[in-house]
Amino acid sequence: MNNKIKFVQGNEACVEGALYAGIDFFAGYPITPSTEIAELLSMELPKRAGKFIQMEDEIASMAAIIGASLTGHKVMTATSGPGFSLKQEALGYACMAEIPCVIVNVQRGGPSTGNPTHVSQGDINQAKWGTHGDHSIIALTASNHQDVFEMTVEAFNFAETYRTPVILLFDEVIGHMREKITIPEQGDLAVVQRLRTSVKKGVDYHPYLPREDGRLPMSDFGSEHRYNVTGLFHDMWGFPSNNPKVVRELLHHLVDKIDNNVDQITRHREYWLDDAEYVLVSYGSSARSAIHLAKNRRKRGNKIGVLELQTIWPFPKELVRRKCAGARAVIVVEMNMGQVLHQVKSAVDNPASVFLANRIDGKLISPTDIKTLLRVIQGKGV
């Protein structure tokens, strides 16, 4: 076996995943707890003739990766709370202009400067609704470094497949904790390459005319086809239009291309769900505590299972409904004031059976924190 085994931080696992997926352009601005991603890529990219640039701020970083994606490159930026806020306008531009790109947000406590060196999962809703206007978005996360690696590869794949920005919502614990990963051989994991148009020189290329399967083949800036890219509503040429039909159809296309593929985009893990009376729904570093608790309680005969979400957006409603259908109670374990809780409640058949086990004080939620709530629900007292 030539697989490479490494002992790394989550941020480094993310970098390894990006390199595996073929990243060749990164623009960023330092911010805790994501900075290691920029530092590592400044070292690694030039070794592969890739480009790294430290921009003047996060707005510029987001803009630069969009520009580089249009020339046919695989691009990424990485940031945390305040920087993620700054990126929102250009993120919406990438949604509208359908530019593949990956944005890592290693979450820390907020709002504002908040709690820079401590963990939080407070940006779940921002990832979905941070930029203005109706749109859909893909956001992925992971609870261990092997999955960080794989979800990063998936993020690049989804970005190319759906021509969209994809957000990786890691958190401070995942970003900074060290753990073993095994880097697969090239070819072991699927890597989606850019779909480029087969339209020949001299024949009209419509950059915004979806194929029958909904995908839009691209043409690199610098190659034969010259077209317009804009954040205004636009027609199939990419030219600005406020024709109501054009506006309506484009908005539907932007939302449907993601929401109609929720099954293809959903990634999750599950533990002991088959006979679970209590289902813990969690993600990111809090899922580790949920899994730990479930494992221990199982030894005592408690029927507890865990549904770990790796795709947060589009929210896998149907999956959550099915997996929670037989449960007496569902406990959402997260480090915010109930952002995924809200989604789970609207997904399940019996919202009254859904409870929140959370921590919002910068400390990782522990198995004991979850157990305390579980005992109350089970009527065992505190």
């Binding site: 480009k51 003047e56 630069a64 520009g67 610098g222 010259r226 954040g231």
Partner: protein
């Protein structure tokens, strides 16, 4: 009327997306003249249109990018240079031309402007200075200057203006020039030199907005405003400056061919990094 070089010998239509006309500009707007000079410069240079990426932000000026048959990237307000930086660094063979409004370039985009200049990345920025926010209907910009009228300065502005030439120079731009829409042939020449220059180039072009700046400040119609550009500007170092120091100089202020260009420098990083691994 005698045919001048300006309107006779060019075939600028080859670079226009006529499908997308009519354009949005008001009658008399200076932005079309800038476009005219820009296309003539491209034609004179014989550039390959597939190697030109025109990137712009938001504003009347920024709409230029849609009308030209180059690769065109119409982005968000103020950030065009940051998008252009990504295009250029990722694919250095491309020619990046970035037309910008005065608000776009120096208010919301001021940070990107000075940092692009500091990096000396090979991008040509054309600041179409009409001293006003045209697109949003006549609010003052950082180039309006003191004592002017705007919809958000009904009593008159108390904000001072930037001097684009000095700002670009101090920030590290290696080519800096200024002209006006009255001097359209001079603009062709300056834009040609700016595009040919390897490094960050800035060409400031005074461009009239008769609809807002002109009307609010009683400057007359478009031809009056252009007449003013003729009267109030002189070539760099003109004797007339001795009698009237308020005249504004036109021409090339900086043309530094020695300054290292950013993408070239990055190429050296790649060489070093690759050697390090071998």
């Amino acid at each position: 009327m005698p045919k001048t070089k300006y309107d006779k010998e060019y075939n600028v239509k080859q670079y226009l997306r006529e499908r997308f006309f009519p354009h949005i500009w008001c009658p008399g707007c200076g932005h079309g003249i800038v476009l005219g000079s820009l296309l003539r410069a491209v034609e004179e240079l014989g550039l390959d249109p597939t190697e030109i990426v025109m990137t712009s932000g938001i504003g009347c000026s920024a709409r230029i990018s849609g009308y030209v048959n180059f690769h065109s990237l119409h982005t968000i307000h103020g950030r065009a240079l940051a998008f252009a930086t990504g295009v250029k660094l990722s694919t250095p063979k491309l020619n990046l031309i970035v037309p910008m409004g005065d608000g776009d370039a120096l208010a919301i985009g001021g940070n990107h402007f000075i940092h692009a200049a500091r990096r000396n990345i090979d991008i040509t920025a054309i600041v179409m200075n009409n001293r006003i926010y045209g697109m949003t209907g006549g609010q003052f910009s950082p180039l309006t200057g003191y004592g002017q009228k705007a919809t958000t300065a009904p009593y008159s502005t108390i904000d001072n203006e930037f001097d684009v030439v000095k700002l670009a120079t101090a920030a590290g731009a290696s080519f800096v020039a200024r002209s006006t829409t009255f001097h359209a042939t001079e603009c062709i020449d300056l834009i040609k030199k700016a595009i040919s220059h390897k490094g960050f180039s800035v060409v400031e072009i005074f461009s009239q907005c008769p609809t807002h700046y002109g009307r609010k400040n009683k400057k007359g119609d478009a031809s009056n405003m252009m007449e003013l550009y003729k009267k109030t500007t002189v070539p760099i170092g003109s004797k007339k400056l001795e009698q009237d120091p308020s005249l504004i100089e036109r021409g090339i202020f900086v043309d530094n061919k020695e300054a290292p260009e950013y993408c070239d420098e990055y190429e050296k990083i790649i060489q070093t990094a690759m050697k390090g691994r071998a």
